[in-house]
């Protein structure tokens, strides 16, 4: 009990404590319940003890990866944000978590990973910039195909592709879900009165990325911004429970703006240049090995001088 729990999660950006919904849920729940955690914000899922993020490392029971399991573990350690809820409120929590997972999550995945423009300009770029060198070429597309597979299986539609029809279908569910959440929240500060519970963590984990990540095609964000109570709900949690991240996020975006767009991708550009030089050198070396240099090595083994031996061979063949 004395040893602090360790939490591994995706690092943050855009003024969010983390860019990943699962990590956000766990972080928010831990703050709500007042859990002392040693948080490792990383951008390489292979460095987490379970191979995926978020992950909770405990001394006694090993490591856990799914948000629901992590919350159960935190509860076992007596950090329970749902302690004050009545039985009926507990039932409502389960129901609304299901609603969010079935209706809102597929649309969020679509917006971040499947919509081609958003994926290329925001999601893939962020991951390519933040994941360390050789992995950043492989991991984003792996993650994308996993997310696409997930949405397809969740919707029971094996041929779901990025396109108008899929977008319309997923977004109409998501907009309805946001309306329902907004109606349920009403003018309350949190879903069940004045103190936050696990439902608040789930809703926050799904809404905060929609609200904060600036996507080129942002229908979900537009709709969410129309609902004042949900927007206030998110910014309330951010300012009350994650004051540090907001300040960092402000600093980041301010400095980005100051630098301007030309210098924005300077490190990225350098790396690209370096990489293209490396590729070119490798190609040239490969070509050289395949043609000329092989012959010289061959001759060296024989122990005679290169030029004469090769010409001898040629002459023999000609004859």
């Amino acid at each position: 009990m004395a040893a602090p729990l360790e939490l591994f999660c995706w690092k943050g950006s855009w003024g969010l404590p983390s860019v990943d919904t699962g990590s956000l849920i766990v972080l928010a729940y831990a703050r709500f319940a007042g859990t002392p955690l040693k948080v490792h914000k990383i951008s390489n899922p292979w460095r987490s003890p379970t191979g995926s993020l978020p992950a909770l490392k405990t001394k006694e029971d090993g490591s856990f990866s799914q948000p629901s399991k992590i919350i159960i573990q935190l509860r076992k350690q007596k950090y329970n944000a749902d302690y004050d809820l009545s039985a009926k409120e507990g039932a409502d929590t389960l129901a609304f978590i299901s609603l969010v997972e079935e209706k809102l999550m597929p649309a969020l995945i679509y917006a971040l990973w499947i919509d081609p423009k958003n994926y290329a300009e925001v999601t893939r770029r962020w991951h390519a910039e933040n994941i360390s060198f050789p992995l950043n070429f492989v991991l984003p597309s792996c993650m994308q195909s996993r997310q696409l597979e997930r949405v397809r299986l969740m919707r029971g539609n094996g041929t779901l592709e990025a396109g108008e029809e899929a977008e319309k279908e997923l977004y109409s569910d998501a907009l309805e879900c946001m309306n329902l959440l907004s109606q349920r929240l009403g003018s309350n500060r949190f879903f069940f009165g004045d103190s936050p519970s696990s439902l608040d963590a789930y809703v926050f984990g799904h809404l905060a990325p929609i609200l904060k990540i600036r996507l080129p095609s942002n229908k979900l964000q537009q709709h969410l911004k129309d609902m004042d109570n949900l927007t206030n709900f998110c910014s309330n949690i951010l300012s009350l429970y994650f004051p540090d991240e907001i300040r960092e996020g402000m600093g980041q975006s301010a400095s980005n703006v100051q630098e301007g767009s030309e210098f924005d991708h300077e490190p990225y550009k350098r790396r690209k240049q370096l990489l293209s030089v490396l590729v070119a050198v490798a190609a040239m070396l490969g070509y050289a090995f395949l043609t000329g240099i092989v012959a010289i090595e061959h001759v060296k083994e024989k122990g005679s001088t290169g030029n004469t031996a090769s010409t001898d061979l040629q002459i023999e063949e000609d004859e």
Binding site: A91, A95, S98, K103, L180
Partner: protein, 275 residues
């Protein structure tokens, strides 16, 4: 139903009244239908009966392939074909039939949330127990699912379906769960439903809603279906208010209506009765 056609359909649907010869299609009741499909089918039947819309049930071995979305049940009304409870609810609402008009906004939000709870936990648990628990899959699910087909198609189709369900479980993080954990989830879900129901006759006071139809469809089917073990139905039996809720809906919408109508025997399609 594709969304592009939806606006068009709802316009037409609103114009036409509910016909007498509406038909609901499901797989063969005796030898083929699975627990999860039976539950969905019963939910749709209960929903239509609560609205007082007549529907004739037909069993077809290839119902799954007849359905526009590949899922059963589906209804054939006039010249429209609509599958699954969600779209059917939209379809009937377009015709002016709805059970949830009297609810306020918060209640409607809660109703939708609890319906997702049933889909998310009960339906997934049914699928898990059917396809991912070895005993049930080998003894009941695969033989029943493939009963209309001859060798080798029966094996191919059954294993294909099993593979598909397992991939789904993987994607939603249920693959690592043990059977005990799944039973635990079912218990938790029933606990929530039981809490919400309390001592009321229906989930939202005196009038039945879509949620009542859905919950009845699933619980009643679980209670009346024999699996390799009856642990699943035992989980539900420990909640007495849910049991009497099922009994109440069965009496109000299945037994009495069947007694009244002339063609009762034809329409009676829910299978064995409770108690």
């Amino acid at each position: 139903m594709s969304l592009a056609a939806e606006a068009f359909v709802s316009q037409i649907a609103a114009a036409e009244p509910w016909p007498e010869n509406a038909t609901l299609y499901q797989p063969l009741r005796e030898d083929q239908i699975l627990l999860s499909d039976c539950a969905s089918s019963l939910a749709v039947q209960a929903y239509l009966r609560m609205l007082g819309l007549p529907v004739r049930v037909r069993c077809r071995a290839n119902a799954e392939y007849m359905s526009p979305s590949g899922k059963v049940p589906f209804i054939h009304v006039g010249n429209q074909v609509v599958s699954e409870l969600g779209p059917i609810m939209q379809f009937t609402r377009a015709k002016g039939h709805s059970l949830s008009d009297s609810l306020d906004d918060v209640q409607r939000a809660e109703m939708k949330a609890y319906m997702e709870l049933v889909n998310n936990m009960l339906l997934t648990a049914e699928l898990y127990i059917q396809w991912c628990y070895q005993n049930t899959a080998a003894e009941i699910t695969r033989p029943r699912y493939s009963s209309p087909y001859s060798w080798p198609l029966n094996h191919i189709l059954a294993y294909q379906k099993q593979w598909e369900v397992r991939r789904k479980m993987n994607a939603i993080g249920w693959a690592g769960k043990s059977l005990e954990q799944v039973y635990e989830d079912v218990s938790q879900c029933c606990q929530a439903l039981s809490q919400r129901l309390g001592t009321q006759p229906f989930f939202f006071n005196k009038q039945p809603t879509e949620l009542d139809a859905l919950v009845f469809g699933h619980l009643f089917t679980i209670l009346t279906t024999r699996l390799t073990t009856d642990e699943l139905s035992e989980k539900i039996k420990s909640f007495s208010n849910l049991l009497s809720f099922c009994r109440r809906i069965e009496q109000a919408y299945f037994e009495s209506q069947d007694r009244d109508s002339q063609s009762g025997a034809l329409d009676y399609s829910k299978g064995p009765s409770l108690m």
